[in-house]
Symmetry: C2
Subunit: 397 residues, 2 copies
């Protein structure tokens, strides 16, 4: 079996003591053996974490050499000390990898408002740098090193042939909600050996994230640390991609990001269903997305799916609540392929059969069809269960 790690990259993860369980790794290092093109997309939260502030100033770039990530501590709401600590993580990583401090990007996820234990981080970086590897187990270990309350690690990969060369794209991500006490964040890193200019890398990443990681929610609470990075080593080519090759690469990037993005609400805290919401027939794509997001964030829709309830009233009233103009009398709604609502009025359907289909499948498909235009959007979310509430209200002083 060929490894899924794109050429030019080596990875490692270690336990350095941020998590109490020594069997769970909490520090991931990704190194590139040459200057990589790098692009980033970051949280819109006004309280963005120190590593977000650092990385935002360093991307897009043509000279990135490493990404260091810790889980268990978000380094968010930590003030000036937090910024110094993020820079120190970059400096220690640069030292261990023999590169410049400004060539390192930093990711953190975990508890908000606590200073990073820098002695542990420092030891962890040194240990990880000594274990860097380019095989599949190293990729899995790196993904596991990002996890907080995730039930499973999240990886996706594509192989394609571009400009006469084999190209590899691999993505790793974490996220299961913004989690108690005080945990946060979704993180993703995309690695490729394709050759990309920083401008193309940033444009592709922004476009693709907008339709993948920006179209998911567990409970609609954007964290302080959300970050998606794309690193391109260029090891596969002499020249940067353009034209149809660049378009083909974008397709692969879309596929990997979509897979990783859907894995997050599928692993949502307490979730028993992944809900896919497709809204079609809108005048503008933003309208479709607003309606899809309103449905995705309705606790009433999410509890109905958890209960196997084909409750079309909750879905259409959520759609009507999105602040988008449309003709209510021209709306159709299907759940798991069954028409529940047609031209603004209830359709005759077998409620027991649809309920059984919701219960029998991990994924529930909701399709809302309007008659305002040709734009559409998809959004993915978790259902809402008593277990989600238990996880997030379980607090003992």
């Amino acid at each position: 079996m060929t490894t899924r790690v794109p050429r030019g990259f080596r990875l490692a993860a270690v336990h350095c003591g941020l998590k109490s369980d020594p069997a769970r790794s909490d520090l991931t290092l990704i190194a590139c053996d040459r200057d990589a093109t790098a692009a980033g997309v970051y949280t819109q939260n006004r309280f963005c974490a120190a590593p977000v502030l650092l990385d935002r100033g360093r991307t897009p770039s043509a000279k990135i050499r490493a990404v260091v990530a810790n889980s268990g501590n978000a380094n968010a709401c930590t003030g000036e000390q937090g910024l110094r600590d993020a820079r120190e993580m970059a400096r220690l990583t640069a030292q261990a990898c023999g590169v410049e401090e400004a060539q390192v990007l930093v990711l953190s996820t975990g508890v908000i408002g606590e200073p990073l234990p820098m002695l542990k981080i420092s030891a962890g970086i040194a240990a990880a740098a000594a274990q860097l590897d380019a095989d599949d187990p190293a990729l899995v270990a790196a993904a596991r090193g990002l996890m907080t309350t995730d039930a499973y690690h999240k990886l996706a990969a594509r192989q394609l042939r571009l400009a006469g060369q084999d190209v590899s794209l691999a993505g790793l991500a974490k996220g299961a909600g913004m989690i108690g006490p005080n945990l946060a964040t979704m993180l993703a890193v995309l690695l490729t050996d394709a050759a990309l200019t920083p401008e193309d890398a940033q444009r592709l990443l922004s476009t693709v994230v907008d339709e993948t990681f920006n179209c998911i929610s567990v409970e609609g609470h954007t964290s302080t640390n959300d970050t998606v990075l794309l690193l391109a080593s260029g090891a596969a080519h002499q020249r940067t991609l353009d034209g149809p090759n660049l378009a083909a690469f974008e397709g692969a990037l879309q596929g990997v990001c979509g897979e990783l993005a859907r894995a997050i609400p599928n692993d949502g805290e307490g979730a028993t269903h992944l809900i896919q919401i497709e809204v079609r027939g809108c005048a503008r794509r933003e309208d479709a997305r607003r309606i899809a997001r309103e449905i995705a964030n309705s606790p009433l829709v999410k509890t109905a799916v958890a209960g196997g309830d084909p409750n079309w009233g909750r879905i259409v009233s959520a759609a009507g609540n999105a602040g988008v103009e449309f003709q209510p009398g021209r709306v159709d709604l299907s759940v798991n392929g069954c028409r529940l609502f047609q031209q603004g009025a209830p359709a005759a359907f077998d409620a027991a059969a649809i309920s059984a289909s919701i219960r029998a499948n991990r994924q529930t498909d909701i399709v809302v069809q309007l008659a305002e235009g040709d734009c559409q959007a998809r959004f993915w979310t978790s259902d809402l269960t008593a277990e989600y509430v238990r996880i997030n209200s379980d607090y003992h002083t």
Copy 2:
């Protein structure tokens, strides 16, 4: 004890068969013995119910004589038949009260997407018209006739002296969430014997609703039927109110609407806490409200309060997620009077004491202070418990 029913109004409620339990009334009638000034504020949902469409066309008005309300069926998503049924409810009420059909307003709340059983409604209107009364028990009965999953009926009243006359203001409301299977809605009716012009009535009602009923949520899902009506019989005065008297009336209206509005999330499904969120120091009132609403609608904040967890990280990250520009380093946060976060950084606090205070009080007070200006807003919501999820996912085909 003097009655709280404003002069000019009589009320009644009966059971006509929309609810299965014969002990629970499901049809309320309010009649005025003269032409009343009437104003209305309605749901923004694109799927608004038939009675909302009807009432919207009839307010503001100087000639309203009756309000008929049913609970147990929302008459929403019922198409042309729904509109004919709403008009027929008005016609039957007009006939029973000896007024014109166009002088009647209609309210409905309950299951979405089912046609109204008009024979039952017709019998209910006739029965209610024969029982109209102007005493306190009639007011309580009218409020109870609006209830769906409400645990208690919601009434508030004020007596004041304006322009040399005693003036009475009474409000009745219902609402506890948008409730399964397929129930919906908050409704409120304000009655007064003050004399108001239709323009003043509409302006005052819109202003006051904006700061009261528009500042509450249970789960952030605006229903298809939300309606607030103000009816002024004018029985207390020869001339309409103006100047300081009108301002004093607005103050009383604000008080009554605030009390009724807070009663709704306090009675939120499964709620163990009423959460009051106050955001101060914003450049614009709309900014303050957006931040307050974002905090109010965060399941992570709501589960934290349910668990007695003084989780400031969830509150400030929700604030940062509202799409409002502010300086994160100048934000303070208090919970139940205790400072948890100061100038953008965690403060030292006794977590066990604050947790005990959250557990000991039905109301949790969250105050967020920014440094952008002098505008502020308040918002009220319920906490989120496993019981809410149980109520809303409990479905058996």
